[in-house]
């Protein structure tokens, strides 16, 4: 594999430390505004993601009784996860684990197909940084205006703009932290409590932490989160291969680069006019022409910038494009036959016509994705809202009564994940003539009550028939039956007796 070593010293090397120091002053990145397909897609996803994030806690979903009316709710105290009609209890946390596994495999698949679209479009760091940059641009102006402002005098205008920017940032940060905590409680109640100072200290702590991290990471750290903190860029290379689409500068077409005046011929030179627009718009401040590199988040804004320039100078679009390493190598091999210029472009394009999205790696990722999805669907479809657990008493394992009959005591737990409170008949199969008594039930009859959205615990005495010949261990089945006599749920246990 795979990643080309950078061929030229990068601008980031300006960040190079003084001789010997392992630390360097951070060089601020001033991404310029850009328009185009990729920018448009990025805005669309940003609006969608923020909409989902801020609106979800407010969606109501009526549930019976005292159950919360929130569509999506993580109830930590009650150990419930509510998602519309589905309520996951703590013992079913594997569904949540399964969802995370699904998300991870989906991420692998998408990365192997289209490169770092997660980083460039969907990662919260990218989304909030984009939002913060938009605010910054509205207040301080575009790239050049911002650079002038930072280098200029610290006058009234400077402080006004900075103050306004940070104020807006902090409001957004607080709204972000505020929305986060709303996922963990009833949103309207919590918001009222937060605003009136009556919320719990944990609520304020998490609100504060999320506010701080949003403000610090999206406002100040930005691309440094991706470059220095995030582990994902480190191991995503394992998902990428020579057939993955990554944001690529087509060096075979662009080189040799150089300034170009209108009317000059394109023969004998590359298409890159060295305008540095791709560098200026880059949110991580790198030069994509140095090849694939760790800092690139695959957002494609440089493609938008370059396409505009290509339109202006009258060359075909796609000098920077989503392309694969295979294509780049093929095109390079084909194009080297002719000297730089338009003829080379045609030759290179022809060499890279087909794309290979279906390949063992993507098939395996898609297969795993399908298998996990299927397993989860089956598990979910077979999920029962009533569960039964039977725990035998261990001391004593059996009881000999005055007349010599043998009794075993059990603790029976009935999980009821619904909101009704049905009463079930408890039948013990495998022990003919045995009597079943439930402590606390009327006349100790073998009926078990359930608790809506809860677990009911019952002490149960099972007494074998008088004089029954019992082996040391008799397999029995505890069965819950409804009024119509249908089996609701059953579980196996054993009935123990002394050695004969």
């Amino acid at each position: 594999m795979t990643m080309e070593a950078p061929t030229r010293a990068r601008p980031a090397e300006a960040q190079q430390s003084p001789q010997g120091s392992l630390y360097a002053k951070h060089v601020k990145v001033y991404p310029a505004r850009v328009t185009g397909r990729f920018r448009y897609a990025k805005w669309l996803f940003l609006v969608f993601a923020l909409f989902v994030y801020y609106v979800t806690p407010w969606i109501r979903w009526p549930r019976p009784g005292s159950a919360p009316d929130q569509f999506l709710l993580v109830d930590l105290a009650g150990r419930r996860f509510y998602l519309g009609p589905v309520v996951i209890w703590q013992d079913e946390l594997y569904f949540v684990t399964g969802l995370l596994i699904l998300a991870a495999v989906a991420l692998f698949l998408v990365t192997s197909l289209f490169g770092r679209v997660w980083c460039g479009y969907a990662c919260p760091q990218t989304v909030w940084t984009d939002l913060y940059l938009w605010v910054e641009r509205r207040i301080e102006g575009d790239r050049n205006a911002r650079m002038r402002l930072d280098q200029g005098p610290r006058d009234g205008a400077y402080w006004t703009k900075k103050l306004a920017k940070h104020a807006v940032w902090l409001v957004i940060a607080a709204a972000t932290g505020g929305a986060f905590v709303l996922y963990f409680g009833d949103a309207p109640t919590m918001l009222r409590e937060i605003l009136t100072g009556r919320a719990g200290s944990w609520t304020y702590a998490f609100l504060g932490i999320l506010t701080f991290t949003t403000y610090a990471l999206a406002g100040w750290a930005r691309e440094q989160v991706c470059t220095y903190m995030c582990p994902w860029p480190r191991f995503q290379a394992a998902m990428l291969d020579e057939n993955s689409l990554v944001v690529s500068y087509r060096a075979w077409r662009g080189e040799p680069r150089g300034k170009h005046k209108q009317g000059e011929p394109w023969e004998g030179r590359g298409d890159c006019v060295d305008c540095r627009q791709c560098v200026n718009v880059c949110p991580t401040g790198i030069d994509i022409r140095d090849g694939q590199q760790l800092e690139c988040i695959g957002c494609g804004l440089c493609i938008d910038a370059c396409d505009q320039i290509m339109d202006k100078v009258g060359r075909p679009r796609g000098l920077i494009a989503l392309d694969t390493l295979t294509h780049l190598q093929k095109a390079e091999a084909a194009a080297c036959a002719v000297p730089p210029g338009p003829a080379r472009v045609a030759l290179g394009d022809a060499a890279t016509a087909e794309r290979r999205l279906i390949r063992p790696r993507t098939i395996i990722y898609a297969g795993v994705l399908a298998a996990v999805s299927l397993a989860m669907l089956v598990a979910f479809a077979m999920r029962s809202t009533t569960e039964l657990a039977v725990l035998r008493d261990r001391a004593p394992v059996f009881i000999a009564l005055a007349d010599g009959t043998i009794r075993n005591n059990f603790t029976v737990k009935v999980w009821n994940k619904g909101y009704g409170e049905p009463t079930y008949r408890l039948v013990v199969e495998g022990l003919p003539g045995a009597t079943v008594a439930v402590v606390g039930a009327p006349e100790e009859r073998p009926v078990v009550a359930t608790r809506a959205d809860g677990v009911a615990t019952h002490r149960v005495h099972v007494t074998a028939a008088h004089g029954a010949r019992l082996s040391e261990s008799t397999p029995v089945t505890f069965v819950l039956k409804d009024e119509a006599g249908r089996t609701v749920v059953s579980t196996a246990s054993v009935f123990l007796a002394p050695k004969r």
Binding site: A5, A9, S17, G20, Y23, N409, G440
Partner: protein, 289 residues
């Protein structure tokens, strides 16, 4: 310290100067603020050490400006747990034993609380699950009760105990030592008769002889047919449950020189709510009447 910093020809970067068996490390400098965060955490650790118990001294230790201790924290947690228990315990105190048993919420609470109190106070003699032990430690799980197995009976026994000097109302029964009263042959005969009550006699003639001895000496406490007399705490002899063992040798030993267990009165040692929870818990073992 780095010794020899070179410029790497391929990347144009300098090396850190570190070298391991010919492998050199490129210098990819971190931003300065990263280092400052490390310094900030070190500074914070100093603050932390001032706030909380930290430095050892010759006599004791520095207690921290907040005065926080783990011991105090557990005391507070216990206090808040007790405060949470209080309403339940109040309800149990106010309710009758039967009311506790009929109320699913109180019953669940009594079983949980009774289990803990039982393990702390009762399990040493009666076993962790109330199974008892042969040799004078009665099982509480079966349906054979010497002093009665209703909720009230169990409650009374827990409060006052058996054959102790602490409670004037302690349940007392006294079996005479027949070793000096009856001859060995008579003791053998009456033991055979007792065995015959559960169809285990080995010598029918001796059992018949023993019936007379039994009628003269034993009937007042153990009943005509060995069914026991609860009012005086006379155990039943006609069932499968034997406090001191049911073999002939064990029966003979118990007649000759009877052993009798003692149970302390818990009335003054445990509070009323705990005793009530214990009574209900023991009753749910299944032998309760």
């Amino acid at each position: 310290m780095p010794t020899k910093i070179e410029k790497d020809s391929l990347t144009g970067k300098t090396t850190t100067g570190h070298e391991w068996d010919g492998i050199k490390e490129l210098n990819t400098p971190l931003p300065k603020w990263w280092l400052y965060i490390l310094y900030a955490t070190i500074a914070w650790s100093a603050v932390w050490a001032l706030l909380y118990p930290s430095f050892p001294g010759l006599s004791g230790h520095f207690r921290g400006l907040t005065g926080w201790t783990q011991r105090q924290a557990i005391v507070e947690q216990m206090a808040s747990a007790r405060a949470e228990q209080a309403p339940f315990l109040d309800r149990i105190r106010a309710a009758s034993l039967e009311e506790v048993r009929q109320n699913p919420e109180l019953l669940a609470y009594a079983i949980a609380g009774g289990r803990v109190a039982f393990a702390d106070n009762c399990a040493a003699c009666h076993g962790s699950g109330g199974q008892g032990a042969v040799g004078g430690f009665p099982a509480l799980v079966d349906d054979d009760w010497i002093w009665g197995g209703t909720l009230e009976d169990i409650h009374f026994t827990i409060v006052h105990g058996i054959r102790n000097a602490q409670s004037e109302e302690a349940r007392v029964s006294q079996m005479p030592a027949y070793g000096g009263v009856l001859s060995r042959a008579q003791i053998n005969d009456v033991a055979e008769f007792v065995l015959s009550l559960t169809d285990r006699a080995t010598d029918a003639a001796a059992a018949r002889r023993g019936e007379e001895v039994y009628a003269e000496n034993c009937v007042s406490c153990h009943g005509e047919k060995g069914e026991g007399v609860r009012a005086v705490g006379g155990p039943a002899l006609n069932d499968a449950i034997w406090l001191y063992g049911g073999t002939k040798a064990q029966i003979v030993a118990q007649i000759t020189n009877p052993r009798m267990g003692v149970m302390p009165a818990w009335g003054g040692r445990l509070d009323e709510a705990t005793i009530k929870m214990l009574a209900v818990y023991v009753h749910t073992f299944g032998g309760g009447e």
